[in-house]
Amino acid sequence: MIKAKLSDSITPAKMLWILLCEAAVILPHVPHMRIWVSLICGLIAGWGYLIVIRKWRHPGKLIRLALVVISCVAVAYSYDTLVGRDAGVALLVIMLSLKLLEIKTHRDVILFVFLGYFLVVTNFLFSQSMGMAVYMLFACVGLTSTLVMLSRHDKGLHAVSNIRVAGTLILQAMPLMLILFILFPRLPGPLWLMPEDKNRATSGLSNTMSPGEISSLIRSDAVAFRVKFNDRAPSASQLYWRGPVLTHFDGRTWHSRSLPIQNRPERIQHSGARISYTITLEPHYKRWLFALEMPVKIPAGSFIDADYSLMANKDVSNLIQYVVGSHTRYRIGNELQRLQRRFNLVLPPTLNPRTRAWADSLAQRFSSKRERIEHVLTQFRQQPFSYTLNPPLLGRNSVDDFLFNTRSGFCEHYAGSFVYLMRLLDIPARVVLGYQGGEYNELGDYLIVRQSDAHAWAEVWLADEGWVRIDPTSAVSPERVETGIDAALPERLSSGGLVRSVNPLIRNLVLYWDSLNYRWHRWVLGYDAGRQRNFLQRLGIDSDDWQDIAITIIVTLGTLVLAISLWMNLHNRERQKDSIARLYQVFCQRLARIGFQREAYEGPRDFASRVSQQRHDLRQDIELITRFYLQLRYGRNPPEQLFSQFRNRIRLFKPRKIKRSITP
């Protein structure tokens, strides 16, 4: 084996480079790591650097072991666990830093770089945005250039040259990666379940609704999901994206609570044309999938629950894509069983006395349930109710307060109090959460639904119609449903809603950026087993036939590798041609410096003879160089040594001006 050589030692410049690489890989982790982890990393990195520049002693095995044990204990204490994503990353980051303390030779650095690659992948567990991908690509160039540096076996850093080599390698690897990305069989579902990390901060709908909850969501411009319609998109007033259904009221908050006995929902009766579309759903760590009311053709791995909500079999913890077919003309819940009926009528007793009294009077005035509903909606329309993002606070009897005192509220106030009233009027009713509307992106021909489109509406059950959607908000503010949240709530824009800014330039930029993101999500992040099957089918490859796939991968990769290797050789030869011309240029420049400018019309031979006539002393050199040049440039099969001879000649050719005093 190679003996430890001087060239294998780590110079301060190399160490600095290594530290930079480490910092680049760890930096994106800093915001979601515990602060002490970042601090420890910084301290250890500083120590590692001092060891190299001050030639301090490396810590002994015992100290390193102690450090490893201490950090494991610290992580376990701080994260409550050693497995899982967050604790794992913290541990990995600390280990990477500790590795710095034992860097003595190139061997240690190689292991360090390998750990670095692994840390790059862990970043993708937190963010898979385009920005992160580009950043990590650069981090990989950095790590790879470190490997190049090590394989040079000398003391120099060669930073620029190494980066160029690493960049070339990565660029050449790109087409191969693409082939593997497309063809490598994707397996549906995880190999094993990892413990879910707690305290995931997410924005999105929850399965409860209390006054103020949705209005806080409405301030967020984060994308909830994007929709691509196969045909024309339905009109805005039909865009009700159904989410969780809330049936239980505790006096302040609505909860979703399923029946003790789950019965399968009846079939959805539908008519009219089916609307087919693909939804790219951002992870929200809940089980429900959003779909246009009412989903009829549902994706694999999902089901429709007793409340007609589309549910996934497991939490949506990754960006997913699914295809749904919906009908906007439908009928659900022909029959309501006794238990279900009671579930949708029950209310906490004694609260809201004024509302109860009003409901009693209404019940006496109108016998028909349709009339009761109409009357309540008319009241919403005619009384001075207002739609606002900043409603006043409500007291203990929140429905009384809202209906008779404040009369200003957001969709959750209207939906909640409406359902409350309906139940008092003996009409089974419930709250439905979801999104309403969305913004059409003409650039990408898809609909963006943001958190700000979150909405709550009501469903009432009528004996001859089943469950019927009623949106009390539209009675108060018809613009909300017809033109969207910003038309209904101009105040939202002033409170920081940049996205749907009035400025058309900014708006277009934002939409353009979003359409890029959508494509990224659709084609890169959402490329899963199902999408791969469809895509390969279009290419005429059967994705179930492993043999077929393996042969395709091998043949395409082989062809590409061959092509790259040919290109590399071609490149090599072309460079030599270039350098011949460049060297001749140097020759001409040197002659120009002593007063012989080559004219544009002058061929190399004419130029040479002109100069030779005036400068006999240079004649031999000039004629030789010109002959070499012509032979290399235009000759057939120039001898192999000619190029280096040509080069040497030009290197040595340093003509000087003749001094006047010598010439008589």
Binding site: V121, F124, L147, S151, L169, M568, R575
Partner: protein, 318 residues
């Protein structure tokens, strides 16, 4: 495994090759290094992670790094391919010294050849860079263990550039060798002088600086002894003869260097040759089956020392 790889890769290399040796693509072999294996393991781990979390960018990165490794193999291969190699002339050494084989490598490609490693088996390797379109000589040292003629045999030329994941190598067998003189014996007794009847210089007591005449210049004569006045007349260059130096011829006799073993005898004779040469004496060598007529100078010295080096080894190829 390395043994097997060596066996397979040297299979076609029977003996010394004709120069220049060109590293064609077909004679370059390539295998992953230990780190290459480790890297594969790392990629496997990354792949499992990507599958488990169904992480598209995880897949992308795994495939990218795998492809980078694959492409680096091409680069390692190219880093060796096309090199033209010949062996320069060697300088004879005394046994125990390092024989140096200048390996002249010509890189005609437009790209530099980086971190090439040349190694004669059981000797220290040499790392070398060869810039594009230029020629560089690597000096490969080999410890001489016995007198005679030594050859480096198969030389391994390899590189792990650019990522250290693949080891590309080729075996070359340049036709070069180096004469190893016997090691001169330390503190050898002085040779016995045998006087030649040339009519001059019988009396040693005259002193070495006495001028005794002129003779035509021979290569190897010291510049101090040139008779500049006489030489300036234009009829050739002359060297001054001194009775102490030129007047005596020594025969270094095999029989007078009687010691215990053959090698010791050769060592002693070697030492005598060196002593005679450094004191400017003319000397001849008398060996069984071979007599070298008296003379002096660099070539004569080499002739004598080679005869000693090759004594009893005539069967080996020159």
């Amino acid at each position: 495994m390395p043994g097997l790889a060596e066996k397979l890769s040297t299979r076609t290399l029977a003996g010394p090759e004709q120069e220049p040796i060109v590293l064609h693509r077909r004679r370059i072999y390539i295998l992953p290094t230990r780190y290459g294996g480790l890297f594969a393991l790392l990629l496997l781990l990354m792949l499992i992670g990507a599958i488990n979390y169904n992480n598209s960018l995880g897949f992308a990165l795994t495939f990218l790094m795998g492809s980078v490794a694959l492409v680096s193999m091409l680069h390692a291969h190219r880093n060796l391919a096309g090199l033209q190699i010949r062996c320069g002339s060697t300088q004879s050494v005394f046994c125990g010294q390092q024989a140096v084989f200048p390996i002249i490598m010509n890189n005609q490609n437009a790209l530099d050849k980086i971190a090439l490693r040349l190694e004669i088996k059981d000797n220290d390797p040499v790392h070398i860079n060869i810039p594009a379109a230029s020629t560089i000589t690597a000096k490969l040292a080999m410890t001489s263990r016995q007198r005679g003629i030594i050859a480096p045999g198969r030389i391994k030329i390899s590189c792990e550039y650019p990522l250290g994941l693949f080891h590309a190598w080729s075996w070359i067998h340049p036709d070069c060798n180096c004469t190893v003189y016997p090691a001169p014996e330390k503190d050898a007794p002085l040779p016995e002088f045998e006087q030649q009847g040339l009519g001059m210089g019988q009396s040693r007591q005259r002193g070495q600086d006495d001028f005794s005449g002129l003779r035509r210049y021979q290569p190897g004569d010291s510049i101090k002894t040139i008779a500049w006045k006489q030489s300036a007349r234009g009829s050739g260059i002359f060297t001054k003869q001194f009775s102490g130096a030129g007047g005596k011829t020594l025969w270094l006799d095999w029989d007078s260097a009687a010691t215990r073993s053959l090698e010791q005898r050769l060592s002693r004779l070697c030492q005598w040759v060196l002593q005679c040469e450094s004191s400017g004496l003319e000397y001849g060598l008398r060996m069984p089956g071979q007599n070298i007529a008296p003379g002096k100078g660099h070539r004569h010295r080499h002739l004598c020392l080679s005869a000693l080096a090759l004594y009893g080894q005539r069967t080996s190829p020159a």
